[in-house]
């Protein structure tokens, strides 16, 4: 039995995202849709693993907007549904979200946004909390694993009370942290779907689901939000711990409340500091806040990343009595805490220590000095493409084609593991000077390709992953074709959404719940758009380079190269070596003229290291994935590969 389906009263270790999934199951969720994105993906993966047992429809949608639309349809039909995404996914979904908040919802609809303060696995640390304020929907933030489950369950109920979508925000340190959770009951029966739309236009339960008449519906929406505020005032999820009249009140939410508790403990100031942990961070419950602001001498707001909560508290305080207004408020706006990056107990302890003039007990100075010395010995570990990663070979080909062409062409990057081509440590041949949101590489390339009359006449290339292709690239590709943008568009097709853990995408004949579904062919789409399409294996360096060289030399049209090779970590490849690879030391030239360590200095595969004593390249059998590409690039043929798929006869 899946851990997710343990009976009520079981105590289990859940990942934050698993706790959210269990909460949704306890709420009787019927439909779950998402686009994968770290740190959010495990919510849907968990739900997919029990979809059959719990009669839940679970899908990986093509992008976050469609995921929210799929979930909203279920809500309109009276079912409870959930849409899950990472922070920037909310931006993608936001156009629909605006209209959804205006039409309202029926069955409980929860939008889960798992955010990444500090960008531990993102190329942004964007905030979606502001969407809650901007679009006037309740915002809930769990502060531990139990709450992640319980608050999720409650979010569905709240959504049905106010007839609108509720946003639940998690962060990496919640979603990807684990802790004990006491499970509740799973409902015995699931709801039946029925969509009514024949009632009066203002009837939220039986009328059409539209945003007009806009102003009337907007007023209704705002009225209902006040019902949420009333519930927030009494919510057990908002908790205060500490003295009745604290010297310092910390207002906090999410993982930050754990940091705050830890920091107070580290400084041993439990008797002076109170912590108001809010789970309902927008709209704020004004009475609850006022009570606590009144009782405290000073106020510190602890949150990630921007001063969202702080602004709300200050706006509230501005309307309160003069003695509250005059109390010192510390937070991000005054620089007590940073407005960028994630927080941790040490940063919060330092902030509290500064305000209360309390010193943190430190390690002996001699130890700190030794530790600093040890730190200096430790080499930085930069991210890189894995051993056997097809992207290393793809960018080798791309780099070479650009170099041979000689006109300083460049690659507009996109979001995926291949984004690392923008970092020089990943390979010795970086070619990617732009990196933005999903699909932006193709849009930017389409624009760059139009700058020749203004003096920028270079070959423009762009890359995207297979999953990204479906998510956001297709419109940009159509734009390029229609507007005659001369670009070389390369799909790095590694047969799955590799970066986030091999979720299937529309190009694969398998669904989130492992059913057989129609695959949508990238090649056919590109041909239908009117591009010239070639398909190659990036490990076939010769053929791939030739195609790319030809594409760069042929001007005036959209050219598509699909590079197909499964990710080295994909389930079908992981742990299985295609080739046994070894270095023939007698042939390895090493640092001498004629090679100068092309493999380790330039190609940079973690499975191929440099023996400093022998001054020879050496295969690390533990790391090597057996792709055999290094054997192709070795000028001396000193890297020898033996095909393991051919059994010796």
């Amino acid at each position: 039995m899946s851990k997710l389906l343990v009976p009520a009263s079981s105590k289990v270790l859940f990942l934050g995202n698993e706790a959210i999934a269990r909460g949704a199951l306890e709420a009787g969720v019927s439909v779950a849709a998402a686009y994968p994105g770290t740190p959010s993906s495990e919510v849907i993966e968990s739900l997919a693993s029990v979809a059959r047992e719990r009669n839940v429809y679970v899908e990986w949608s093509v992008n976050e907007k469609v995921a929210l639309e799929v979930a909203a349809a279920a809500s309109f039909a009276g079912l409870r549904s959930i849409a899950v995404m990472k922070q920037n996914g909310v931006n993608v979904a936001s156009d629909f979200l605006l209209h959804l908040t205006a039409s309202g919802t029926r069955g409980g609809l929860v939008l889960v946004s798992c955010e990444d303060p500090g960008a531990l696995s993102s190329v942004n640390e964007g905030e979606s909390r502001y969407f809650a304020r901007m679009l006037e929907i309740p915002l809930l933030e769990p502060a531990d694993f139990q709450e992640a489950k319980d608050l999720t369950k409650w979010a569905f109920e709240l959504s049905e009370v106010i007839g609108n979508v509720v946003m639940l925000r998690s962060v990496t340190r919640m979603s990807h942290a684990s802790g004990n959770v006491l499970c509740g009951k799973l409902p015995a029966r699931s709801r039946r779907a029925a969509f009514r739309y024949d009632g009066p236009i203002m009837d939220s339960q039986a009328g059409p689901m539209i945003s007009t008449p806009v102003v009337a519906k907007h007023l209704l929406h705002q009225d209902k939000l006040q019902d949420a505020v009333a519930l927030f005032e009494k919510s057990p999820f908002n908790r205060y711990t500490g003295p009745a009249r604290p010297d310092l009140l910390i207002v906090t939410a999410s993982a930050c409340s754990l940091y705050a508790h830890e920091a107070v403990e580290m400084l041993a100031v439990e008797k002076r500091v109170g912590i108001l942990k809010l789970a309902t961070t927008w709209p704020l419950p004004p009475k609850l806040l006022t009570r606590h602001l009144q009782a405290a001498k000073k106020i510190l707001i602890v949150e990630e990343v921007l001063p969202f909560l702080e602004e709300s508290v200050k706006i509230l305080a501005a309307g309160l009595s003069a003695d509250i207004r005059k109390k010192p408020h510390f937070g991000k706006l005054d620089g007590t805490l940073p407005q960028a990056g994630e927080l941790n107990p040490d940063l919060v302890a330092a902030a509290i220590g500064k305000i209360l003039k309390v010193k943190l007990q430190k390690l002996p100075a001699s130890y700190a000095a030794e530790a600093a010395k040890a730190s200096a010995l430790v080499p930085v570990r930069e991210q890189t493409f894995c051993a056997g990663c097809p992207h290393r070979a793809s960018f080798w080909n791309i780099h070479n084609a650009i170099a041979l062409d000689g006109r300083d062409g460049f690659v507009c990057g996109d979001i995926g593991c291949y984004s690392m081509a923008a970092l020089s440590p990943a390979t010795g041949y970086s070619t990617m000077p732009t990196l933005h949101s999903m699909g932006s590489g193709t849009g930017l390339a389409s624009g760059f390709a139009k700058l020749a009359p203004f003096g920028l006449d270079k070959p423009i290339l762009t890359v995207c992953g297979d999953s990204t292709f479906y998510h956001a690239v297709i419109p940009a590709l159509i734009n390029a074709q229609h507007n005659r943008a001369d670009i070389t568009f390369i799909v790095l097709d590694n047969a799955g959404t590799a970066m986030t853990g091999f979720q299937p995408h529309p190009g694969l004949p398998v669904s989130a719940v492992k059913e057989t579904v129609p695959a949508v062919d990238i090649e056919a789409i590109c041909r239908a758009i009117g591009a010239e399409v070639e398909v190659s294996d990036p490990f076939d360096l010769d053929r791939t380079s030739k195609i790319l060289t030809r594409f760069l030399s042929e001007k005036g049209r959209l050219k598509v190269l699909i590079l197909r090779q499964a990710c080295a970590l994909s389930p079908e490849k992981k742990g299985k070596k295609r080739f046994e690879v070894a270095v023939d030391e007698t042939l390895c030239v090493g640092e001498a003229c004629g090679c100068n360590r092309l493999c380790t200095r330039i190609f940079r595969c973690p499975g191929l290291t440099w023996d400093r004593t022998k001054k020879k390249a050496v295969i690390d059998e533990v790391i090597c994935a057996g792709c055999g590409v290094c054997a192709l690039i070795c000028p001396q043929k000193a890297i020898v590969k033996t095909d393991l798929s051919v059994s010796p006869s």
């Binding site: 107990p345 080499p379 991210q383 440590p425 742990g575």
Partner: protein, 204 residues
């Protein structure tokens, strides 16, 4: 069932490189302790685990309280290294004079070392640093033992076995077997138990 453990909390950091099975090991460890009645919090940094980066799990083991998923600097009680410089990297930030270190001795070279721009300290240097910065430290050839068993990734389970043998945490083979039984098939369970035993043996 609940073994004796000091009333105070324990902070454990399990560190390594993407692909070494760090996340699995920390969850297995935490699963055992939750079953034993502890409140465990794991904070994981694994977003970049697939791309050769450092991977670190913070385990907070408490009799009664959910702790921050990030251990404050200088407050690790136990550092378990699946990779030696990663153990040193963590020790230098989270260690204190009473920290205990248990580390695999097999390097996974960072790309900067492979290119020749950076250097990787020798095992002697690493061992000396461990000694300077900890109350006690031990390095074992977990990857070597795993390779003998035919799969280098088993080194994570070998490290769990070795950790159990130290007696620093209230875990044992029976608890490990129960935990693995939750998810693994019979043949995989057998391999993992063998790896656990190999870890125990390395510490004897």
């Amino acid at each position: 069932m609940k073994k004796r453990m000091q009333k105070t909390e324990k902070n454990v950091i399990l560190t390594g490189v993407g692909g070494q099975g760090n996340v699995l090991a920390s969850r297995a460890l935490a699963g055992m302790l939750v079953d034993a009645g502890y409140v465990v919090t794991i904070g994981e940094t694994f977003g970049m685990s697939q791309r050769g980066g450092s991977v670190m799990s913070h385990l907070r083991i408490s009799p009664d309280e959910v702790k921050s998923p990030q251990i404050p600097k200088g407050r690790a009680d136990i550092v378990i290294g699946l990779e030696p410089v990663e153990a040193l990297r963590v020790l230098a930030v989270y260690g204190n004079p009473s920290t205990v270190v248990l580390s695999n001795n097999r390097p996974v070279y960072p790309i900067g070392v492979i290119t020749g721009e950076l250097s990787y300290p020798s095992m002697e240097v690493i061992r000396a640093e461990f000694q300077r910065l900890s109350a006690s430290s031990r390095m074992i050839d977990a990857t070597g033992a795993a390779l003998e068993m035919g799969n280098p990734v088993l080194s994570n389970v070998i490290m769990i076995g070795a950790l159990a043998q130290t007696g620093l945490l209230p875990i044992d083979r029976k608890m490990f077997e129960k935990e693995m039984n939750k998810t693994l098939s019979a043949d995989k369970l057998a391999v993992n138990l063998k790896a656990f035993d190999a870890g125990v043996a390395l510490m004897k």
